[in-house]
Amino acid sequence: MSLLQTLLIWPDRVLLSVLVLLLIAVPFLYAARAPMHALIRSASRAVSNPLRLGSRWLADTAKRLHGRNRHVLFAHGSHEVKQTIEREFERVTTLVQRDLEGYPVLQRKLMDEITRIEEDYKKTGEVPLPPPEWVKAIEALAKIKASGDGVVERILVEIRDALGDIYQKVVGEYRSAYKERHQILKSFLPFWRSVNQTLTQVDRNITSLQVSAAKIDANVIKLENITARGNNAAHALASSSSTLFFVAGLVMLIAFGGAYVNFKLIALPMSAMVGGGDYITDTLQASEVAALVIILFETLMGLFLMETLRFTSLFPFGNITEKMRRRLMWASLIILLVLASVEVGLAVMRDAIISADVALKQQLGSTGGVVRAEAGWVTRIPTFGQMILGFTLPFALAFVAIPLETFINSARTVFGTGLELALQGLAFVLRFAANMAKEIGRFVIMLYDVLIFAPLAIERLIWTYREGAARGTKLRSMPPLKRAAGSEEAI
C-alpha cells in the first residue's frame, strides 16, 4: 500500500476521499493563509535570489572578460603590427644600406659621364672657319659678264677654275670636320647607355623604397586605429584571429597526419633498437614511446630552428646574442639532420623486418620449398619511398612551428570570446531560472487561494455586508478586499 493510499479515507474511492480531505483541510488552509503565503514567497526568493546573484556575477565576469579579451586583442594586434613595421623598417634599412650606400660613387660616376658627354658635345659644336674675305672679291670678279675680249675671257676662266678648286677644298674640309663630330657623337652611345642603366637602377630602388614606405604608412594607420581602440579595429582583429585560428588548426591537422605517418614508419624498427615486447603501460609499447620521443624531438628541433631563423617568436630568445642565436640555429639544424638520417636507417630496417616476416610466413605456410621472387628495382620502390619519407618528414614537421605559433596566439582570442559567450549564455539561463522560480512562487500562492476560494468568498461577502451596514450608519471607507498580512497580492 502506497503512502497516498494510506492517507485516503476510502481507498477504493479516491476522488471522494480527496474531496473530503480537501473539505477538512480548507478551514486549516484558510487559517494558515498568511503564514503560508509568506512561506511560499520565502521559498521562491530562496531559489530565485541566489540564481539572480549568480547570474549577475556571471554577467559581470563576462563583462570583465570582454574587457580583458579586448585588451589582449589590442595588445596582440598592436604587437603584430609593430613587428610588421619593424620588419618593413629592417627591409628599408637593408635596402638603403645596400643601394644608397653606393650613391656617392654612383653620383660621381654619373657626374663624370655627364661632364664627358658635355665636353664631347662642345667639341661637336665647333664649326669650320668661313671662307676668307678675298673670296667675296673674286666672286664679284666672277660676276663680270663676258664682253668677247679674249684676254678678259681667259682671266675669268682662270678665276672660275681657281674658285672651283678652292670650293672643292673647303667642302672637303667641311665634310671631314663633320665626320669627326659624328664619330664623337657615336662614342657618346655607351655613356648614354650607362647613364640610362644607372638611372633605371636608381628608379627601381626608389620605387621599392616607395612601396615599403606605403606599407609602413598603412601599418602605422592600422596601429593608430588599434591605439585608438575603436570597435572597427576590434572587429577586424577578432575576425582576423578567428580566420587564423581555423586555418592554423587545419594546417596543424595536416601536420598531425604527417606525424602519424612518420610514427608508423619508425615504430616497428624502433623495437629492434629498444627491444620489442616491452610494455610501459597495458597498451603502450616501449618502442612506440621511443618513436614518439624521436618525433617530438624532431618537432622541438624544428621549433628551435624556426625560432632562431626568426620565423616565429614562441621563446624568449630576444635576450641572447646574435652569435649564440646562430650557434643554436646550427645545432638545431644538425640535430634535425641527424634525426632525419636515423629515420632513413629505420625506414630501411622496417622494410627488412617486414620482408623477413613475409618470407618466414611464406615458408611456414608452404609444405615445399619457398620460391623467392627476383628482387628487381620495381620491388625496391617502396623502400626508396620510405627512405625519402623518413628524410623529408622531419623537415616538414619543422615547419609546424609557424602554424603552431599562429594557433596559440589566435587560440587566446578565440577561446576568450568563446568563454565570454558561454558566461553570457549561462548568466541568461540563471536569470531565466530566477524569474521562473519567482513566477512559480506567485503561481503557487494563487493556486493556494484557489483551493480556499469558498472561505475567501464568504469573507468577501461579510466585508461587503459590513461595508453596506456601515455606509448606512456613517460614512467610512473600507478596503474592498482584505489583504493577507505581508501579502502584496489582492485576494
Partner: protein, 222 residues
C-alpha cells in the same frame, strides 16, 4: 613559454605513465603432442599448428613443443623450445631455426612407431612447470591429442596438479573407434579433463577440432 608549458605537461604525462605498474605482456605456449599409438599419424596437422603459432608469436614470447609418450614428465620430452629475443630480425632467425628443428622431429616421428602408453598428465605437469619458469603474462598449454590417457601399472598420475593462471586448449581431439560405438565415452572423457583442468586452477578450458580457424583461439585478446 606556452610551448615549454605544453612540453612540460607532456613530459610529466610520460613520467607518470612510465612509473605506472608494469604488466608482463609476453606469452608462453607449450604444445603437447601425442606421439603414442595411432595418433602419431596426425603429425602433419601438429606441424601446421606449430607453424601457425610461430607466425603469431612476437618478440619476447616463448614457444615449446613437448611430446606425450609412455612417461612424459621429463625435460627430455621437450622436443624444441625457443624464447624469442627483443630484436625482430633476430626473432625471425630463431623462428626459422625452430621451424626446421620441429620439421626434422615431425619427419622422424612419422616413420617411428608410436609409444605403447599415453601419459598426458605427466606431459601437462611438465608443461606447467616449464610455463611457470618463463614468468610470461599469458600461459597456454595446447594439447594435441585424443585425450585418451593410458598408463602402465607402475606410473602414478592420479595426483593433484597445479595449473594456476594457465589456459588449456585441447586440439584435434579425434574420436576413437569405441567413441563411435558410444559417443558418451568421448563426451565423458572431455568432461573429465575439463573438470580436472579447472580443479587444477586453469583459467580456461577449450576444445577445438576445427583446424581451419586457429585464429579464434590464439587471438591477442583471448
Amino acid at each position: 613559454m606556452k610551448v615549454t608549458g605544453t612540453l612540460g605537461i607532456l613530459g610529466a604525462f610520460l613520467l607518470v605513465v612510465a612509473c605506472g605498474p608494469t604488466v608482463n605482456h609476453n606469452q608462453a605456449v607449450y604444445v603437447l603432442i601425442d606421439t603414442s599409438g595411432t595418433y602419431v599419424k596426425e603429425m602433419n596437422k601438429a606441424q601446421a599448428v606449430v607453424n601457425y603459432l610461430l607466425g603469431t608469436i612476437n618478440t619476447g614470447d616463448t614457444l615449446a613443443v613437448g611430446r606425450v609418450k609412455s612417461r612424459s614428465f621429463s625435460e627430455k620430452e621437450i622436443v624444441a623450445k625457443v624464447s624469442l629475443g627483443k630484436d625482430p630480425l633476430e626473432a625471425n632467425v630463431q623462428k626459422r631455426a625452430f621451424s626446421d628443428q620441429f620439421a626434422a622431429f615431425a619427419k622422424a616421428e612419422q616413420h617411428a612407431s608410436g609409444s605403447r602408453y599415453t601419459d598426458i598428465t605427466g606431459g601437462i605437469i611438465q608443461a606447467a612447470e616449464y610455463l611457470n619458469e618463463t614468468q610470461a603474462g599469458r600461459k597456454t598449454i595446447v594439447i594435441f591429442s585424443d585425450m585418451q590417457e593410458e598408463l602402465d601399472y607402475k606410473t602414478v598420475r592420479d595426483i593433484p596438479i597445479k595449473l594456476d593462471g594457465i589456459r588449456v586448449v585441447a586440439l584435434n581431439v579425434t574420436k576413437l573407434g569405441t567413441d563411435n560405438v558410444d559417443p558418451r565415452r568421448y563426451l565423458n572423457r572431455l568432461e573429465w579433463w575439463e573438470k580436472r583442468a579447472r580443479t587444477a586452477g586453469a583459467t580456461d578450458w577449450k576444445v577445438v577440432n576445427d583446424m581451419e580457424h586457429l585464429d579464434r583461439i590464439f587471438r591477442k585478446s583471448s
